[in-house]
């Protein structure tokens, strides 16, 4: 039973990353009509920024949790201003191709300097050790990742669904021209949205740095799984992305326990099943 709970916890952690990443993808897709292929690379950048902050500047994990998403978010906003904005009005697939190119560049540069091996990032002192919950041993850091991600996801949901800024955002998604007519600077909102989505990816990267090592390709394979998550959940609803992300992580964890050979593929197999049964995805609207 211990092993089962341990795998469930790993599943929840992976689920947190799926949720944070697919949430960012959904938010970006809503505003920019772009599937951000660079999401995995920016997740990796988040982890690297945290690593640099600690090793070069001596800035600890807690500050990294704040600073890394801001730095990567600014980087993302520069990308949006200099490149992505020129794709407005073109076919969706050009956005995919452009961000794929950006992902190759970012990952290639990091691979040149850091190879493919991982760099260690220590768990902060306050979160070291573990708790005995009676039925299992819980490493505190892992519990923290799950809870913190959940809080961030819900905060993002609240920001978009319940605040005035979120209302502008949703309105601009529906009809940007009309929203501009009300005097709202939609291009700036688009830039900020991209920064927000990218920042979420970087945050996931910082969270994962102490668990998975910091590697240039840490986001490359992850992003493909997240794509499958997005296909399963659909990008129509924020809450849908969060729930699907966590649920698929848990299912993956269970698979690791019951049938480890399929743990790499289970998300993709589920995607196939969902497509066969309900082609629009679980929460998605008809495309």
């Amino acid at each position: 039973m211990q092993a089962l709970y341990a795998q469930l916890l790993v599943g929840l952690i992976n689920g947190s990353f799926y949720a944070l990443l697919s949430l960012g993808l959904a938010v970006i897709f809503g505003m920019l009509n772009i599937i951000n292929f660079a999401h995995g690379a920016l997740y990796m950048m988040g982890a690297f920024v945290a690593y640099f902050l600690l090793s070069l500047g001596g800035i600890n994990y807690w500050w990294a949790l704040l600073i890394a998403p801001v730095i990567v978010g600014i980087f993302g906003m520069i990308l949006e201003r200099t490149m992505l904005q020129w794709l407005t009005g073109l076919d969706h697939l050009y956005g995919l191709l452009l961000t794929f190119g950006i992902a190759l560049i970012v990952q290639g540069v990091f691979q040149n300097y850091f190879g493919s091996s991982g760099l260690p990032y220590a768990i902060p002192d306050q979160l070291k050790g573990g708790m005995n919950l009676g039925f299992m041993f819980l490493p505190i850091y892992r519990g923290w990742v799950v809870i913190f991600s959940l809080v961030v996801c819900i905060a993002t949901w609240f920001l978009i669904e319940k605040t005035r800024l979120g209302a502008y955002l949703r309105a601009a998604t529906e009809n940007p021209t009309l929203v501009r007519a009300f005097g709202i600077n939609v291009p700036r909102m688009i830039t900020l949205t991209y920064g927000l989505g990218v920042g979420l990816a970087a945050l996931a990267g910082v969270l994962s740095a102490p668990i998975n090592q910091v590697r240039p390709l840490m986001g490359a394979d992850l992003i493909i799984v997240v794509f499958a998550v997005v296909v399963i959940g659909g990008m129509g609803s924020i809450m849908g992305s969060i729930i699907t992300g966590f649920a698929l992580g848990v299912i993956e964890g269970l698979t690791k326990y019951f049938y480890p050979e399929a743990s790499n593929t289970v998300v993709f197999v589920l995607m196939v099943l969902v497509l066969l049964v309900k082609p629009t995805g679980l929460t998605g609207r008809a495309a």
Partner: protein
């Protein structure tokens, strides 16, 4: 859906004559390669990728569907051909057939699944499916995991052509490429191809005219996947191995890049793109991961400033379809 190519020209006798002239020139040029002193291995490799890119282009350039998983057909056909040649000791022509049949079967299944979603979802689904296959091949015993299938015997084609001789192999690959290319050209200019272009330009209107667009797209997918498999089978004879690189997503990305550089929806663009990218990899092999950075930069530059690609720009300048 905005059109991928902003200048769709009608198929006129003159256009067909132009295209045939360019085709004959290309065929003669390629046929002369063994006499030129150019390393034939490089050209053979480029020809395999050119065929793959042409097959991919059939789907995106004429069907408007961006597949991000075409490596799965290349790799699947490669593995199956390699297995048939090495373990079952089949002659080359049957080995190729096994690979093509495998790619055909795979494209039936993956097409049935992925064609259910449109646009950007289609790309993500094909990418996810190819990643699924990647993991299956990583674990399946017959692929030998990380090692791949190596030392594949080349044998004698139809009992006559000794494929272990580079020149003979070169002409067999060239004939295979030209046959595949002509088949794609024929498909594009058939009534089926015209309907496909109509769907790409305006799907709702095609539906209102009574076309079952899903069936057309499915057929285009199967044709494209099967032809990509043919490229994979040919590649086995050139490289004499089948490995995980051929199924990896980065390979799918390279195919997209080749077609983009040459020109989406142009007839000769994918060939030019494939030669350009393979040549670049050849000359920059010593630069390690910078090749990835350069490829990424080409993607960015192409998408931002050069969406028609090399051949597309030329065709646009001369107002011809090429």
């Amino acid at each position: 859906m905005t059109a991928l190519t902003d200048d769709t020209l009608p198929v006129t006798p003159r256009a067909i004559r132009d295209e045939m002239i360019v085709f004959v020139m290309m065929a003669l040029l390629l046929a002369a390669v063994p006499f030129s002193g150019i390393y034939p291995f490089f050209v053979m490799q480029a020809l395999c990728f050119a065929l793959l890119a042409c097959a991919f282009n059939l789907l995106i350039g004429y069907g408007g569907l961006l597949s991000f998983g075409h490596a799965m057909f290349l790799g699947t056909a490669g593995y199956c051909s390699a297995h048939a040649l090495k373990v079952w000791a089949l002659p080359p022509e049957l080995g190729i057939l096994v690979g093509i049949v495998a790619a055909f079967g795979l494209s039936l299944i993956t097409g049935y699944i992925s064609i259910r979603r449109q646009g950007i979802y289609f790309s993500m689904i094909t990418l996810a499916l190819s990643q699924l296959l990647y993991f299956i091949y990583l674990q399946a015993p017959f692929t030998h995991g990380e090692d791949g299938i190596q030392g594949i015997p080349q044998g004698r084609m139809f009992g006559v052509f000794d494929l272990s001789k580079p020149t003979v192999l070169y002409y067999v690959v060239l004939v295979g490429f030209l046959a595949g290319f002509l088949l794609i050209y024929r498909i594009i200019n058939s009534p089926f191809g015209e309907v496909l272009k109509a769907i790409r330009e305006n799907e709702p209107r095609a539906i209102s005219l009574g076309y079952r667009t899903d069936q057309y797209k499915f057929l285009a997918f199967v044709l494209s996947g099967t032809l990509a498999g043919f490229a994979g089978s040919l590649k086995v004879f050139v490289a004499q191995n089948a490995s995980l690189t051929d199924v990896h997503w980065s390979m799918s990305g390279e195919v997209v890049l080749m077609t983009l550089v040459g020109g989406l929806g142009t007839i000769f663009g994918p060939v030019v793109g494939a030669f350009a990218i393979i040549a670049m990899q050849q000359y920059l092999a010593g630069f390690g991961q910078w090749v990835t950075v350069i490829q990424g930069s080409i993607f960015v530059v192409c998408v931002l400033t050069f969406r028609r690609g090399v051949i597309g720009e030329i065709a646009h300048y001369f107002r011809r379809s090429l």
